[in-house]
């Protein structure tokens, strides 16, 4: 496991798909990530495959493929064993400090998962992440110095 970094973030497949197909709090949360080049979104092949399958079923395969291509171009790829929960395993092996998920079971101490998240991992639903995200304090910890403001277009 890589040591957790406050600038490394995982979004579960439900959040990635909701960002695209629903908008709302999922998009608000991921817009925070897209606005800041010093934040790193992490994803595994399994996580991307789950997301693509959901978008293909609820949207269409072409859109799902284009969405996956966009995610692959921006997310750092993390490998983990097959069979582990993709989002949790990506966070664990990628050293993420934040996991965005609407899956309540991931926030339960009795999750029954084959791996347990490290103590520094914060698992939150996207609305909590969007509401509590404080780029200035996070920048001081993750990068150092005074927060310069957003440095990327979240729609690019």
């Amino acid at each position: 496991m890589t040591e957790a970094s406050p600038s490394r973030i995982v979004a579960d497949a439900d959040v990635l798909a909701a960002d695209l197909l629903v908008g709302g709090v999922a998009r608000e949360a991921l817009d925070h990530v897209r606005r800041h080049s010093w934040l790193t979104l992490l994803a595994s092949d399994q996580l991307l495959a789950d997301t693509e399958a959901a978008v293909a079923e609820l949207g269409d395969p072409d859109l799902a493929g284009a969405h996956r291509e966009r995610l692959e171009s921006t997310a750092e790829r993390i490998e983990h064993p097959a069979g582990d929960h993709p989002a949790l395993a990506t966070a664990y092996h990628g050293g993420a400090a934040h996991l965005l998920s609407d899956d309540d079971s991931l926030r339960s101490p009795a999750a029954g998962l084959s791996i347990q998240p490290h103590a520094d991992l914060s698992v939150r639903p996207p609305d909590a992440f969007a509401r509590l995200f404080d780029p200035a304090s996070l920048y001081r910890v993750a990068v150092g110095g005074e927060y310069p403001g957003p440095d990327q277009d979240p729609r690019a």
Binding site: D14, G24, R34
Partner: protein
């Protein structure tokens, strides 16, 4: 490659909910476990 703005525009053709997304993923994961 599409921009995020273009992807969100394309996605507006579909109406779904977080609940439907979660149900779809749960069904997929149950299938993978079989």
């Amino acid at each position: 490659m599409d921009t995020w703005a273009e992807l969100f525009d394309r996605a507006e053709a579909y109406e779904t909910t977080v609940v439907e997304i979660r149900e779809t993923l749960a069904t997929r994961r149950e299938g993978n476990d079989d």
